[in-house]
Symmetry: C2
């Protein structure tokens, strides 16, 4: 089978690619080739795999050629992040809405030419949920909670969910939208996502660097480790349409934790000196956006697929440490231990 | 004030224009000029009004010029109807999604240039609701029911609701989406809407013409008269943002009736010979689409704006007869009475 991963040079896309290449198969088919598209280059270990081709550049510009190239399966992860979409409205519309539509049109045409619709997994986001003045957020958002996004990023993700639903209903693709929880701990540097600090307050102290938390310690949020997130995307791909259940987006499993729980776990795993590197300085822009996000989520449909949340936040931190230890050149990431 | 009505040549747009011109004011401002855009020409009485300018042609082609023209208020009614969107996917995407986005961008730019965002009322539709395999329809859809459109038309309307919500949150426009119930009785000829027969089974018998109902007599559906629908659009325009309540779309009031109730009302108003002109021949395509529509709707937010449903379906029929009687040249429409 031939797979496409958009955003395949990014952290999550590369981890997904690596996991799939190590498995060697997906939904009962052997993975013969994999195309990674991204604005940035994929990690060297992926490029070195003979099954992998990478194509760098904006996704939208690559889509016209995709009208004539058939893929069995697509993981569409490419996205501008929440913070940058809020700062630059047009960038978000272009990167998240126009690119997705161009990709769907390409898959539709290639699928019609080959007589077989491509299967597509789309990474939507828990950011589709928010409190509208006419409808406050429930204590815990479920698969069936009415989305009321309070950010352009959330609106764009929600719109893409519905486009994918309709392209699927029409038989143009076999699409499934999965709402990702906030993926923590992300390696590397802070990015433009308003949720970036959820990783920063763990990653920076472990590297021996001070970190500032821009929200209150009592803020609660639904999280998932990179490993659980990739596992969820693969399970959504492999599910039968009946098991996926309908065409509405599905929440992936969430571990619902407060910032204070995260720091308690950090202390438990890495000691009090590491925890002490985190200070609190409220950032109104970030706190305002995060205040409009769900405090907790649950995923009944995901659990029917056999997916479960991370066991604890300490497990998530240990996964991050173990990832750094197995990554050549990542010693600095654990300098503070 | 200067108003724009897209779809202003259509049945509902023309009726709205006529109502507004007769009032002479809107939200406390005098209506000085009104632009009607449509693919078709507006009725002569509207064109004759010195306040009215009409512009015919596709809306999207007119939008670049609108970047440089400020409107205080916009009623965006232009739309391809459900049946044609289902038959021609690309037409629906272009007419309903691309045109709306082009209009929103134009209003954004004109509003930024003038320092004042235009107020916009968008006619969404009860067709955003539907049964997903993962989530059956409730017996009655409310403002807060999770939309799961089962038609491209419904998806496009829902996407536009969310675009308008985000353009409003960003301060680009002051937008309000109102979900119209099925407008009955429409005059004239059947159109491409899958709901067209709801008018046809009343209009045709009154004109002395046989009519075929493509669905079962027990099918129930939320309806509104043209008069109540126009009243709703104006009330939504005039509401303060607080009174409108949030940025999610609002259901307009619905009279929930079965086809058999409609025919009973027809007999009550026009006699059994008129009713006898309706026969039942199931059309699977239409029945399938209608079967995915809500059987009933309620509008708690609309009722807080003081809006109420039509009193009865007999009232709706009498409104239609009275409209025909006051329209020069419409005698044929009541030939069967």
């Amino acid at each position: 089978m031939k797979l496409l991963i958009t955003g395949g040079g990014g952290f999550l896309g590369a981890r997904l690619a690596r996991t799939l290449l190590a498995r060697g198969h997906l939904a009962g088919q052997t993975i013969e080739s994999m195309v990674l598209t991204d604005q940035v280059s994929a990690p060297p270990d992926l490029i070195a795999d003979p099954r992998v081709t990478q194509r760098t550049g904006p996704l939208q510009a690559q889509c016209p050629a995709l009208h004539h190239e058939f893929f069995d399966g697509v993981f569409h992860l490419a996205s501008a992040v929440s913070g940058e979409c809020e700062l630059d409205f047009d960038l978000g519309m272009r990167s998240n809405l126009d690119s997705t539509r161009a990709l769907l049109e390409a898959l539709r045409h290639a699928g019609q030419a080959s007589g077989k619709p491509a299967r597509l997994v789309f990474s939507s986001s828990v950011a589709v949920f928010g409190p509208d003045p006419a409808l406050p957020l429930p204590a815990r958002v479920t698969d069936d909670t009415l989305p009321a996004p309070q950010s352009s990023y959330g609106i764009q993700k929600l719109i893409c969910e519905h486009l994918i639903s309709d392209f699927t209903r029409k038989g143009f693709i076999d699409g499934r939208a999965a709402r990702l929880m906030t993926v923590t701990v992300r390696p590397g540097k802070p990015n433009g996502a308003a949720s970036s600090f959820f990783s920063g307050i763990i990653r920076e102290p472990l590297a021996g660097v001070a970190s500032v938390c821009p929200v209150d310690a009592q803020v609660s949020h639904p999280m998932a480790s990179p490993g659980k997130t990739v596992e969820g995307l693969i399970a959504v791909y492999e599910a039968s349409r009946d098991a996926f259940g309908g065409r509405l987006a599905m929440n992936l499993p969430a571990l619902n934790v407060r910032v204070s729980d995260m720091l308690d776990a950090l202390e438990q795993v890495a000691g009090s000196a590491v925890r002490a590197r985190v200070s609190f300085v409220r950032d109104e822009r970030i706190a305002g956006m995060v205040g409009n996000w769900p405090a907790a989520a649950s995923g009944a449909r995901a659990s029917r697929l056999g997916l479960v949340p991370d066991e604890s936040f300490a497990h998530i931190i240990r996964q991050y440490i173990s990832d750094c230890q197995s990554t050549p050149g990542a010693e600095l990431a654990l300098n503070g231990l």
